[in-house]
């Protein structure tokens, strides 16, 4: 992929590729057409960098973001490092009483590991519209962050991101599954 720096603005990237579907009868024809084209470009990868903005990894106590786990096909409950997920009621972003204890444990860990930072991910179940759910996930992540701050964690150690309903842990269309997906997940980095 070509990257061209233009003017005062941001990066200007080339995009896209036509997708041509053809009948089986055209296979030979397609092969001939392709063989005449030398400047084939790589299909994927060049535009990635999904991990680039996410927390750095590899250190003791470090975890991968849910997006990185999804990319690697390893997104599943409880694979997020030393801190424990909390969960939310439907269309709610208030911290539930039973999750306060989890957050106190999470805050203690952060207190004992002052060099670590944490990104709080907000997630939602599949119901409702995608854009509303990204905003709702942001409220959940923010609620968890504010709770940690109240418990004494410095605000500049905690960042937030919402994935809305885009990265479910469970894809059945039922409440037991939805309840797992309505979560705040904590990704620790150095």
């Amino acid at each position: 992929m070509t990257r061209v720096r233009l003017g005062r603005g941001g990066w200007v990237n080339s995009i896209g590729a036509p997708v041509v579907r053809i009948g089986a009868a055209a296979m030979l024809c397609a092969a001939l057409a392709l063989s005449g084209c030398a400047s084939k470009q790589p299909a994927t990868g060049a535009e990635t960098g999904a991990g680039a903005g996410a927390p750095g990894l590899g250190e003791e106590g470090a975890g991968k973001s849910s997006l990185q786990q999804f990319q690697q096909g390893t997104l599943s409950p409880g694979t997020g490092g030393p801190l424990t997920d909390i969960h939310f009621d439907y269309d709610e972003f208030t911290i539930r009483a039973q999750d306060g204890e989890i957050l106190r444990t999470d805050a203690r860990w952060l207190e004992q590991h002052a060099a670590n930072r944490v990104q709080v991910e907000g997630h939602c179940d599949e119901r409702g519209s995608e854009e509303y759910n990204i905003a709702l996930g942001a409220k959940r992540a923010q609620a968890a962050k504010e709770y940690l701050i109240t418990l004494g964690v410095a605000g500049d150690r905690v960042s937030t991101i919402s994935y809305g309903k885009e990265l479910p842990l469970c894809t059945e269309h039922e409440e037991s599954c939805w309840a797992q997906n309505r979560r705040a997940h904590f990704v620790v980095s150095k």
């Binding site: 080339s14 036509p18 579907r21 053809i22 999904a50 519209s129 992540a141």
Partner: protein
């Protein structure tokens, strides 16, 4: 089979080398109750020189047939039953015999001719009323071979204009998000008839919420390709894009004004999501909403004056209306506890489509901006979301079905009739956007 070409140059070669082998890409599936369709015969084009294999004629007729079937006004009479030899008869009034068509019970007939001279193509086509033995409309087109699909779409648009007084919507583009190529949502564009599929994004993250500005050249979408949600503005003609950068917060979604010059963006900061008017580079022009609540899914009216959006300021998600120049927002929906994804009709300016939840599934509704009762168009047929209007205001495309197995559907607004699915099985196409008519 499916073949993806990476290089645009290779694709052009392929299209040119293989025109005539191209297969229908969309499944025609009439899923709604049928009102009476007019019987239409579409004759092959008369070759006036240069189309000896009839490949250009076939391409034109195929696309025209698909579009007119999708229009919901016509059924196409099987060409195998045609009596007349198109190459042995003329295509203008008086040069052929209507008696060759009335035995097929054809109410309408399309005939035409074409000349190919090197790369240049001249094509003319006519619509006749068989019973009245009358010409209803005719069009001449000049261009090169790559323009043939657009000639067919423009003629389909002209036919609808002749029949209904309103130009048809086929010379336009759709954009949508899909997992058709794997696990990751990518943005695609295509023509309504399923041709010209173009993969705009190619990154293994999350790419969502495509929306067009103006004539289908500018496409705005949200992507997590840098790790966090951000807005990108793509020029589909130059095939270049830039990131919309803002210091206001994370840009999670947005809509372009019809002139393509400004963006209404949903900006998340510290858990609150508010709407801002930005220029194309992301510089703020004005704040539109304020507070701690959720304000998302902006939609802008065709005249660029009004803004509709989804907000939970009253509790659950409801549709609100305000001026793009600012001022207070007025709540528009009161029925149902989950109303979202508004879209303005491009004609008349007084009708808004949105999705509303009933008994756990969404239906597509319309509501008048001046008040009045909401009208349920989809009536529980399936969970139906993301309404977007055709440029002529005659159709809505929405995404319907269960999460993970969603298809795009074409619906006629006036009747609520679902004309056809536009997606193949398991393509999981969501979040459709429909451009205005394409530019020259």
């Amino acid at each position: 089979m499916r073949l993806k070409l990476i290089s645009a140059a290779a694709a052009v070669v392929l299209i040119l080398a293989c025109a005539g082998f191209a297969r229908a890409q969309i499944k025609m599936e009439i899923v709604g109750p049928g009102s009476k369709l007019s019987a239409l015969a579409i004759s092959p084009l008369h070759n006036l020189g240069g189309d000896d294999e009839h490949t250009v004629s076939s391409e034109f007729v195929d696309i025209l047939s698909r579009d007119l079937r999708l229009s919901g006004y016509f059924r196409i009479i099987d060409p195998h039953s045609y009596i007349e030899d198109a190459q042995a008869s003329g295509f203008q009034l008086g040069q052929f015999n209507f008696a060759d068509w009335s035995p097929l019970n054809a109410e309408f007939l399309i005939k035409g001719g074409l000349t190919i001279n090197g790369a240049a193509i001249s094509l003319e086509a006519y619509l006749f009323d068989v019973a009245q033995q009358r010409q209803d409309t005719g069009k001449r087109f000049h261009g090169d071979r790559r323009d043939v699909p657009r000639m067919a779409r423009r003629f389909a648009d002209a036919i609808l204009e002749a029949m209904t007084g309103r130009r048809g919507p086929f010379d336009s583009k759709l954009a949508f998000a899909s997992t058709r190529d794997g696990r990751f949502k990518e943005i695609y564009t295509m023509s309504l008839d399923g041709q010209d599929l173009f993969k705009v994004t190619n990154n293994p993250t999350i790419n969502i919420f495509p929306s067009f500005g103006g004539d289908g050249r500018d496409l705005l979408y949200t992507s997590y390709k840098s790790g966090a949600p951000a807005l990108y503005l793509a020029d589909l003609v130059k095939q270049r894009e830039s990131r919309v950068r803002s210091s206001l917060g994370q840009l999670i979604g947005g809509a372009l004004t019809p002139d393509g010059e400004r963006i209404v963006a949903a900006v998340e900061r510290d858990g609150a999501t508010n709407l801002y008017l930005l220029d194309r580079s992301g510089e703020m022009i004005s704040p539109l909403t304020q507070g701690r609540s959720i304000n998302v899914s902006p939609a802008i009216s065709a005249d660029g004056q009004k803004l509709a959006f989804t907000s939970d300021r009253s509790g659950g998600p409801q549709i609100y209306l305000m001026s793009l120049n600012g001022g207070p927002a007025k709540r528009l929906t009161y029925q149902g506890d989950y109303n979202s994804n508004p879209a303005f009709s491009p004609i008349g300016g007084d009708l808004l489509a949105y999705q509303s939840r009933n008994h756990g599934i969404f239906d597509i509704y319309t509501i008048s901006l001046s008040g009045g009762a909401p009208v349920n168009l989809t009536k529980g047929a399936m969970s139906s979301q993301h309404p977007c209007w055709s440029p002529d205001g005659r159709y809505i495309i929405f995404s319907g079905g269960r999460e993970g197995r969603v298809k795009l559907y074409l619906m006629m607004v006036e009747s609520g009739k679902i004309i056809s699915a536009l997606s193949e099985e398991d393509s999981n196409d969501t979040s459709p956007a429909w451009s205005w008519w394409l530019g020259q």
